[in-house]
Point group: C2
Chain length 380, copies 2
């Protein structure tokens, strides 16, 4: 489906990998791909003003349908002019469908062909999320890209359960498509299938026939080994239309981003830079730094000498002090730094693809990191 | 004492009140008075980056000697280039002496003529603060203005205890003066004496003889009625040298600032705009707004239509949502707004003094506020 206001132009393809440099255009402006979307769970990327968020180099952000439907409710957001106006972000916004949060957060979720019945993690009230309702909420929010409702399974799961989830995800995707009423909102389908290559390809092929504006790889970064995740991406990619943007949901570490870009992924989101930043972990070209460590007490150096973010106008000693004293400014500054780091990493990847040396860029970046990497990688 | 790098120039005096418009110059730049100093307890005004703090219109900020000596310790700050460099604020900084925190926070404080022995509110360790030590810490911090160590009493207190505290405060002030070794740091004395006019005048006269670079009125905003506070200011002012800046410590509500300016006060500090901001209370020209109130759920208006702060680029409905969802951005935005409100109030007062209509300005401002005012007013 080609919608007015949306396009995806691939400007460069890498010679040695499947990496590509593109521009995904939305009614709220363009996104240079490969792109990383910061997570703005309840209409705010935690601790960032809009100006600060823009200054990290972010072009497109993610909002969480499940969270926003609970607080403040999609009707409040619609009445206050939609999600863009509500939060003051005039760039592109993608909203997930709530499928992942049903899996990770909601209690006593019961999934039937009709939809999912669950209890709110806020107040325990019973709610139902169907494909039609997931789209209705996202249309009320007015995001540029709406994700279809998918059925995410905890791994490991039985083959039968996995097949059921793949088929249900396909049927639900068709129902989401059917439910759409807004011309200015595109829908992305979500490929499931766990770590099984055959199920991944079956899921991708089934969704490809429905011709979505973009395709996501879901159900990963839920505890599997990185190599398993990369294998699942490799099993999925060839079955997706290459002229559509490919979005790897909830991933990940800097190395995961580069490995996925090499496998043809265009879009990412993850809470890793923001959540880790709030917990005193900084990403740098030389690896991660745990800022509470005593060794930083009198360290006069910034996190990264060439970084333009507001945290890097201070010493590591000052940043450590903020965390030790429990000051809000610590999480704020490290969030800004980590997002800036992720965006600079992606900008570097785009530039490398343009000049045909992405494989070298990836190799050099990986060589620069120490082995001290955080384990956390799932979206919230 | 006239120190190089410091001056206080009175440019305008009001015809109907004791208000004056001046410039207090420090080695880190000028401060237009009357001025409000945001409180940066442990080398950060909570939630504000330096750019955001500057954008509120603040020129001079306050740091807390007691807090900084505990965390991270003045030696760490000295080793990282002093407080200005440590926190990245290149404007003027005033540090209090710790006298008020000994009174309000520290446990089991024992005051003798030598100094105060107390237990840290962080870890209970026993510490001693003498006049000499209070100055040594502040010299290590490198603030532009150091406050002398004073003896703050809880009210009501016996006449004898009050007289003792006044005399001890005078002797300690002289010892602080004696202990000074930095040319680029000025000292302000602190007048005590509770609500007793005779003791206030005795304290002020005794300190005036020592010729300090500035004079503070301390021991107020500790639970007394506003009228009592205003009376204490009136009892003190005539006994202070008018060519020196007069600083009312830990005050206060917007109305208190205007009433004190009318009584000749030049400098203020208070946690009220920041602490209340973190707790969802916004100051506006029409009075205070409690943002958690349901009536703001769909309110499209900004807090103040003519306010340039980042909060006022959003609706009240969005700000309410941030607080209801427990998001950091709520406290951040309301801190920025409330500081901007205080600075605009003071800028208005300065402009009114310049054109000779401060009394009208005060009257109009007070008429604009509703009666919904917060009770909280003490420094932390």
């Amino acid at each position: 489906m080609n919608q007015p206001g949306f396009s995806f132009e691939i400007q460069h393809t890498d010679g040695q990998t499947l990496a590509r440099r593109g521009v995904f255009t939305t009614p709220h402006g363009p996104v240079d791909t490969p792109a990383f979307m910061p997570v703005g769970t309840v209409a705010t990327v935690k601790g960032m003003t809009i100006d600060q968020l823009r200054a990290t180099g972010s072009q497109m952000i993610l909002g969480n349908t499940y969270h926003l439907a609970l607080r403040p409710g999609e009707e409040v957001i619609r009445d206050l002019g939609g999600l863009h106006n509500f939060m003051g972000w005039d760039g592109p916004i993608l909203t997930d469908s709530g499928g992942f949060q049903l899996f990770s957060l909601a209690r006593m979720t019961q999934v039937t062909d009709q939809g999912a019945v669950f209890r709110s993690h806020i107040d325990g009230s019973q709610l139902e999320l169907t494909p039609e309702r997931a789209i209705a909420i996202q249309e009320a929010l007015g995001s540029d890209v709406a994700m279809v409702l998918d059925h995410v399974l905890a791994l490991p799961a039985s083959r039968e359960a996995m097949e059921d989830a793949v088929e249900r995800t396909r049927v639900w995707a068709a129902r989401c498509q059917e439910a759409a009423t807004r011309d200015d909102q595109a829908q992305f389908a979500i490929v499931q299938g766990g770590l099984d290559p055959e199920l991944r390809s079956r899921s991708a092929e089934g969704l490809k026939e429905l011709d979505f504006a973009g395709y996501a790889i879901g159900g990963l970064s839920v505890g599997e080994a990185p190599a398993e995740m990369y294998t699942a991406i490799e099993a999925t990619g060839p079955h997706l239309p290459r002229h559509r943007p490919c979005y790897l949901m909830g991933v990940g570490r800097p190395i995961d981003l580069l490995e996925a870009v090499a496998r043809g992924v265009d879009l990412f989101d993850c809470v890793m830079p923001t959540r880790n930043g709030r917990n005193a972990l900084a990403f740098t070209a030389e690896g991660t730094l745990r800022l509470r460590n005593l060794k930083f007490q009198r360290d006069e150096r910034p996190l990264e000498a060439d970084c333009p973010c507001p945290a890097c106008r201070h010493s590591r000693g000052y940043l450590r002090h903020l965390f030790m004293a429990g000051e809000m400014l610590g999480p704020i500054l490290l969030t800004a730094h980590n997002l800036t780091y992720y965006q600079r990493l992606m900008a570097g990847a785009r530039a490398a693809i343009e000049v045909g040396n992405f494989a070298e860029y990836r190799k050099a970046a990986i060589a620069g990191w120490s082995e001290d990497s955080p384990a956390e990688g799932a979206e919230s």
